[in-house]
Amino acid sequence: MSNAVSALPGAAHAGIASVTEMGLQGMVTLRGDHAEIAAAVKKVAKQDLPGQRRINGGLGKGVAWMSPDELLILCAYEDAASIVEKLDKELKDAHHLAANVSDARAVFAVEGPAAREVIAKLCPVDMAVFEDGEIRRTRMAQVPAAFWMAGPDTIHVVCFRSVARYVFDLLATSAAEGSGPGFF
């Protein structure tokens, strides 16, 4: 609805990489036995079940593996509620939990040749070997976050909405001009 605003509308920073808040993004958390929910996910989210720590698709349309009994479905912001409804319908006989979490999150794009280095300043993750199609849930400085490669030089970062400002400031600080380690 028109009243809806993302956590940091329009926030952007340019440095060794650009950091941009991505606006409203639909997200549905789906818990259940992966084998039992695969068909419903395929039908409703139009995506195959991703393997361990993989993401199929991306923002707007995608499914990410979050844990052995949890998926994250990415969709248009407006569609999240109906996806929950459809999943509940498809899975009415299967033990599962589907919830719209679109409003609980903030999404950022880190873009540029140094994007991996920006993340490597904040997360204990081997960014040199981080692959396309991989999603990593980890610690970003002092808060939990998740990210994946959205292109050769683009990383999408998801965090909780309440710490959106903190995470944006972290990313912007880490992307400050002249701070590239030149490691990757």
């Binding site: 033990h95 719209n100 400085a141 002249g178 701070s179 490691f183």
Partner: protein, 980 residues
């Protein structure tokens, strides 16, 4: 005097001149200089004062081991004390100042301490300042504190930025000397991901100075070729000015990179802390030369032999025109040859060994240098700089045989492998008696997560001190064995031992260590602390081996039996800024904001931190005190309508066929019997029975519960739920999801609350359709809303959740619709006071981790029908059922004042410790504007049975104030106001 030579200096660029400031004096140097080499080039041999005696101190070393040349660098927000001049690279405009003297470096009042060194022996402070006790606090401590500390703390906020960087590799090579580069090349050729760290700005370590050939070519060529080869390889990363500060468990290594210290105009962070995870670590950390202990070995001009040739070869700096070399090994002859080659004079090489016939001594003799074997130094002449040296027989007591005028002394007591990093995670050492050093024992290496050795060591750090021992195809003059010399001369008299410095920075002498041994300090760790040997900022890099050799000798035991002190990170000091990394200023820690944060900010909220959340404490108007604002907010709410941002409350979905059973285990109440659409207040206990959280549980449908938690509790309680589901009841069909941040939740509270919602319109919120403790979904003013009829204030109250993205708009819509009813935003303090007026408990006020629900009179919320819930068994323990446990009551002061928070109810007599007995304590206390008096809750012995009894509570000023025990529900005890 020390000066710049007319030629030479492989690291400096003579075509350019830099200006730098030393104690307000402008001096000149060249790019490539260190501050130390530039000071020496300007004949600045006196660079500081020692810690205890304020002795004049000169530059001793040329690298990180330097104990003396500690200076303050920079100015204002860029000032940093205790920086080693030997590792500070010169740049144009550098500002440096000497430390630990008053009024000036040349004339220091504190130096009177040195006139009576017998006054300050080992353990002086311990012995002197014990009695009389009262003197410690008022006389000794203030004086000692004033005199303590090297350098001065910066006063301004650090202007620089810092950051961390996580790096991973298969092989981490620490040290970019020949051995390290060689190890890196081997690993790289095997296809491993290799990272090489070098603490200096230069590759190659000591080899370019010490010389030698590889495959017939100068070693410098091999270094260049190898660095080039490595730099071309994709799987290799090389960092200079990056020191491995410490090795930790499972291949974790901290690297400390200095990015702009040498180039302040450069953009970017000043330091970067590398958080490296390495599959294997190779330490190629080299070796450090040891001083020799002879009388006056601390006088400026006495330097390590290796440092003297570094200054000549690397920087084209002569430490003196006449340089006497004193040694117990062949390596120091290289210095004599370098001095001679620079066109300077070596009056003699003083060699403690009975003979010296190796290739290097022969070369020295061939160059016409006099070699005096079996000889030692009896005494150094000079005060603020060396003027001469008295020689004696090494085997004797130190009778002067000969005096040589000189202005510098190059000493070498042999070399000690740098074993610090090897030792950090438990690598063991063995004593090599022949070569007189501790070296890593490869059979007792540190192990990694797989149990395999995780660290190996190469080069001088492994005890391979010569080039041919490190590299195939390398050639260098063969060296004959050294002779361990721990004191010079061997039979030195007491007055000489009093002038033999072991630890230059902390002023520990041979005599101090011997005294410690004599007084019974047998453990090297105890001696270290008693004498402060090795406890200065250089952590004993020069002094440790010499010190423990002296201790061993004094104890009459072999050196390995004495052992070393523990090596701990960091290898050399690293900046606090680097440790903090990005975490400063706005991002010092995460600050959680609700979707309505910006509106509160605009309204001038006074903030209260709750966990990482910021919540408005109150909304003071211009000129209004916080107290007045709180009272106004309460009165407006109780008489009209208030508005509360309750978004921070935890919201956890619990869903599944076994959700009811699970909720029954989580809560003390019966939750499985809750009907869909209904709300129930619930208590959650830990397994040891103590109350850990509370909140309203809503049954959304047959399968699904929504559990509200406290603001600080959402993550903790969600983790608590998942722990039980994953680790105890994993066969139960229950899923949880923490949806706290999905919803903005706003409380509309007060007698006019319904009117506000009705004005917004969209759903029926009448008492008939939506009675107290029920829940409904619908729309309000066009917003999709979940409406809960729950109350934490005792008033008619709706808590309304809308998607977080719409929270701000919904807040505005409520404010607009409520304007005509005088709707008033209120903060956490008004919330607290109103709940206290109703006798509602608050987790963290009435509870402190030792309180069970029964203490709080909440037995009504504990199901008697359930066989089990988390905490039930613990609540059956004898201590928990003890009737003497303090119980919750209300408290009213007789004079209407507010009881001090946390004050205790005094009782007659004393407790087992002889302290005044107590019989209760205040848990919450506020001024109630509703009642116009102070109200409080507290836990009191037999409290509920003592209604109307008056008891006394202690006050901050030492007196007592009387309060009457009353029912804890001060306001609307029948609950008529909330149930309308």
């Amino acid at each position: 005097m020390s000066t710049r030579l007319k030629s030479g200096g492989r690291l400096i660029d003579r075509s350019e001149t830099l200006k730098f400031q030393w104690n307000d004096k402008w001096l000149r140097g060249h790019p490539g200089d260190t501050l130390a080499s530039a000071l020496l080039a300007n004949d600045q041999t006196l660079v500081g004062r020692s810690f205890k005696y304020h002795r004049p101190r000169g530059i001793v070393a040329s690298g990180v081991e330097e104990p003396n040349a500690l200076v303050g660098l920079g100015k204002g927000a860029k000032f940093e004390p205790n920086q080693r001049a030997t590792t500070a690279e010169l740049f144009d405009g550098l500002i440096a100042e000497s430390q630990n003297h008053w009024p000036s470096l040349e004339f220091d009042i504190g130096a009177v301490n040195a006139l009576v060194p017998k006054l300050f022996p080992a353990g002086f402070y311990y012995k002197t300042f014990i009695h009389p006790r009262a003197f410690w606090k008022h006389v000794f401590e203030p004086v000692i504190r004033k005199a303590a500390g090297l350098g001065k703390a910066p006063k301004d906020r650090d202007a620089d930025r810092y950051e961390h960087f996580y790096a991973f590799c298969d092989v981490l090579v620490v040290g970019g000397g020949v051995a390290g580069l060689n190890a890196a090349l081997q690993a790289a050729k095997e296809g491993k991901r290799v990272l090489v760290l070098e603490q200096t700005p230069h590759w190659g370590g000591r080899s370019p100075v010490d010389g030698g050939t590889v495959d017939g070519k100068p070693v410098a060529d091999w270094i260049n070729d190898t660095v080039e080869a490595l730099e071309r390889m994709d799987n290799v990363r090389m960092r200079r000015r990056c020191m491995a500060a410490g090795i930790y468990d499972h291949g974790y290594v901290i690297g400390y990179e200095r990015l702009t210290d040498h180039a302040p105009a450069k953009q970017g962070p000043r330091h970067r802390l590398w958080r490296i995870r390495a599959g294997h670590v190779v330490t190629a950390t080299g070796a450090i030369e040891r001083p020799l202990s002879f009388a006056g070995n601390d006088i400026p001009g006495v330097m390590l032999a290796s440092a003297v040739r570094d200054y000549i070869v690397d920087y084209g700096v002569s430490p003196g025109d006449r340089v006497v070399v004193v040694t117990n090994n062949d390596d120091a002859y290289r210095t004599a040859l370098a001095v001679r080659e620079a066109g300077l004079v070596v009056p003699a090489i003083v060699d403690a060994r009975p003979e010296a016939n190796g290739a290097l001594p022969q070369a020295a003799r061939a160059a016409g240098i006099m070699v005096k074997t079996g000889t030692g130094i009896a005494k150094v002449q000079g005060g603020k700089r060396v003027t001469g040296v008295e020689l004696c027989a090494q085997a004797g007591e130190g009778a002067t045989l000969e005096t040589l005028p000189c202005d510098a002394i190059a000493m070498s007591g042999g070399w000690s492998p740098v074993v610090h990093l090897w030792s950090h995670t438990g690598g063991k050492l063995t004593w090599d008696a022949e070569r007189a050093f501790f070296a890593p024992d490869p059979s007792r290496a540190p192990v990694g997560h797989d149990g395999a050795p995780s660290v190996s060591v190469v080069g001088a750090a492994a005890g391979d001190l010569t080039l041919p021992a490190i590299l195939d195809g390398a050639e260098a003059p063969e060296e004959t064995p050294l002779r361990p010399v721990w004191m010079m001369p061997e039979g030195a008299s007491a007055d000489k031992r009093l002038k033999m410095w072991l630890d230059y920075q902390n002023d520990v002498k041979v005599s101090d260590v011997q005294l410690a041994a004599q007084e019974g300090y047998e453990s090297v760790e105890h001696t270290k602390r008693y004498t402060t040997l090795g406890m200065a900022t250089d952590q004993g890099k020069l002094s440790n081996i010499n010190g423990l050799a002296v201790l061993s000798d004094a104890l009459g035991q072999p050196i390995p039996q004495t052992g070393t002190t523990t090596f701990r990170p960091p290898y050399t000091p690293i900046s606090m800024g680097a440790i903090a990394g990005e975490a400063r200023g706005e991002i010092f820690q995460p600050l959680r904001r609700t979707p309505i944060h910006s509106r509160h900010e605009a309204a001038g909220a006074h903030w209260e931190p709750v966990g990482h959340w910021r919540r408005p404490y109150c909304f003071p108007k211009a000129g209004e005190s916080h107290r007045d604002a709180v009272n106004r907010e309460i009165n407006a709410t109780r008489s009209g309508v208030g508005l509360l941002d309750a978004s921070t409350l935890g919201k956890i979905l619990v869903k599944g066929p076994d959700a009811g059973q699970f909720m029954d285990m989580l809560y003390t109440n019966m939750m499985s019997s809750l009907k869909p659409g209904k709300c129930r207040y619930g208590l959650m206990c830990s397994e040891n029975g103590f109350l850990m959280d509370d909140g309203v549980v809503v049954r959304l449908d047959d399968d699904t519960f929504l559990a509200h938690t406290t603001t600080g509790g959402a993550d903790r309680i969600h983790a608590h739920m998942e722990e039980w589901l994953q680790t105890e009841w994993w066969d139960w069909k229950v899923y949880t999801a923490n949806v706290t941040e999905q919803w903005a939740q706003i409380g509309v509270v007060g007698p006019k609350a319904r009117a506000v919602l009705e004005k917004l319109g969209g759903m029926d919120v009448s008492a008939e359709t939506l009675p107290f403790m029920t829940y409904a979904e619908g729309t309000l003013g066009g917003f999709d809303a979940r409406v809960f009829r729950i109350s934490f204030s005792g008033e008619l109250s709706f808590e309304i959740a809308v998607p977080a993205s719409q929270g701000l708009a919904f807040w505005d819509a409520l404010a607009e619709a409520g304007a005509e009813f005088g709707i008033t935003p209120y903060g956490t303090e008004a919330l607290h006071v109103m709940r206290a007026e109703k006798g509602f408990i608050m987790i963290g006020d009435e509870t402190d981790g030792t309180v069970i629900p029964q203490d709080l009179g909440l037995d009504w919320a504990i199901s008697k029908k359930k066989d089990d819930y988390i905490g039930k068994r613990a609540q059956e323990r004898s201590h928990m059922t003890d009737p003497e446990r303090w119980k919750l009551v209300g408290l009213e002061t007789l004079d209407g004042s507010v009881l001090p928070d946390g004050s205790y109810a005094v009782a007659d007599g004393t407790n087992a410790n002889g302290q005044g007995a107590v019989q209760g304590r205040v848990t919450s206390t506020y001024y109630s504007p509703t009642l116009g008096r102070g109200i409080a809750m507290g836990l009191v012995l037999h409290g509920p049975d003592r209604m109307d009894e008056e008891i006394a509570f202690n006050t901050v000023s030492g007196g007592t104030v009387k309060a009457k025990i009353v029912n804890a529900v001060f306001y609307d005890p029948e609950g008529e106001k909330q149930n309308v």
